[in-house]
Symmetry: C2
Subunit: 230 residues, 2 copies
């Protein structure tokens, strides 16, 4: 009981890591909108301006968040498996990591090329795509789509609501579903029939599997040297 304690936790020195961790936790519990410089400072028991010694501005803090999340990605060893398998393994790993941090997945989307762990993931993804016969240009674009697909899968999952208690979540889903079901069945029969699926993804594994399959099959379909008649 030496010195003074702050709030519930032992007061430690401010550091980039601590700020980033705090931001990730806060985003996870209350949503990314709750992550403000001032709120972060308050939770750390410090002045808002204290953060500016560690980060040039909020955008750099976001860079730090993305880097930290991407550092959770563990790349598999190089393999001789067919490229679709390798691609699936890479994307599944990224998917698993982002699923643990849906609130900040959108930050990652635009920041992969800005950090060491992101670059390693990108390099490996490009490797798989190049081995499938794509050019540097095509591989760049496809790797971007891959990232984009995984992030969308995580952030747009129907019924997902970060930083909302289960009761409010249920209510939100119920309301949205009701409004879809209230549509004219003559004009929007298919939309009404899909109301459940639009508001809550009933089966998570199937949802993510279809998303992954969709992308990988898409890559297969545009692969150079394929019979592409339609």
């Amino acid at each position: 009981m030496a010195r003074k304690r702050a709030e519930t936790a032992v007061k430690e020195r401010l550091t980039r890591e601590r700020i980033v961790d705090c931001a990730i936790t806060l985003a996870g519990t209350e949503g990314l909108e709750a992550v403000t410089i001032r709120r972060l400072a308050q939770d750390q028991g410090v002045t808002p301006m204290a953060l500016y010694w560690h980060f040039k501005d909020k955008d750099r803090l976001f860079d730090g968040i993305a880097e930290k999340v991407l550092s959770d990605v563990t790349l598999p060893p190089e393999s001789d498996d067919p490229w679709p398998e390798q691609l699936r393994v890479l994307l599944s790993e990224l998917l698993a990591v982002l699923r643990a941090h849906p609130a900040v997945a959108d930050l990652v989307k635009t920041r992969v090329l800005l950090s060491e762990p992101g670059l390693q993931l990108a390099e490996r993804t490009l490797g798989v795509l190049r081995s499938a016969g794509f050019t540097a240009e095509q591989s760049a674009q496809l790797s971007g789509h891959a990232l984009q697909t995984i992030v969308a899968l995580v952030t747009q999952e129907p019924g997902l609501m970060v930083g909302e208690d289960p009761a409010a979540r249920e209510e939100h889903i119920r309301l949205k579903r009701a409004s879809l079901q209230a549509l004219s069945p003559e004009r929007y029969p298919l939309t009404v029939a899909s109301a459940d699926a639009f508001t809550d993804c009933g089966n998570e594994p199937a949802y993510f599997e279809l998303g992954l399959d969709l992308f990988i099959e898409g890559v297969r379909g545009v692969q150079p040297g394929q019979s592409d008649q339609r």
Copy 2:
């Protein structure tokens, strides 16, 4: 010269349409961040609170923007073409509309099911997918991915910078490209080789074609009753 004039244009009464149009224009010229209640009011020569008579809050204004943009989508007549063709036509139309409004495309992504024109597009898309043999659940998910893919194609186009003069844009691209090219060629050879493609999509038609193909081929690949061995 009766009454008084404001700024450069003739002062007219405030209306939902005028506010939405103003917001879309502003987003296009200065970016979505520039679209604030206060700025909109200022441009219209009115108090910020005036807008609250027309829209409950900023989110409803965003709903209005999305609806207006989606109303530009002109649906093709029903056809007997094979479903991939029909899907391509629908997505190309949406793509063309969003390409004209990249700054607000992200707003559209989460609001298709909230307006008449969006619902009509969704219904048609679901129709095509259902005709391809997908269930209501699968079709809902795939239509979501379709939307998401088109929006991403428009908003993530490398080298696109909404609300930035060409000079600043060039400089921005140059800088980002240089930083990629400065990476270690031993550790990131493929990333360095793709630096150009990551920073500027050299060939727009090819970029959008590949994006569309990727999605449509993906749907083809996950279509029920296909030989799906990998």
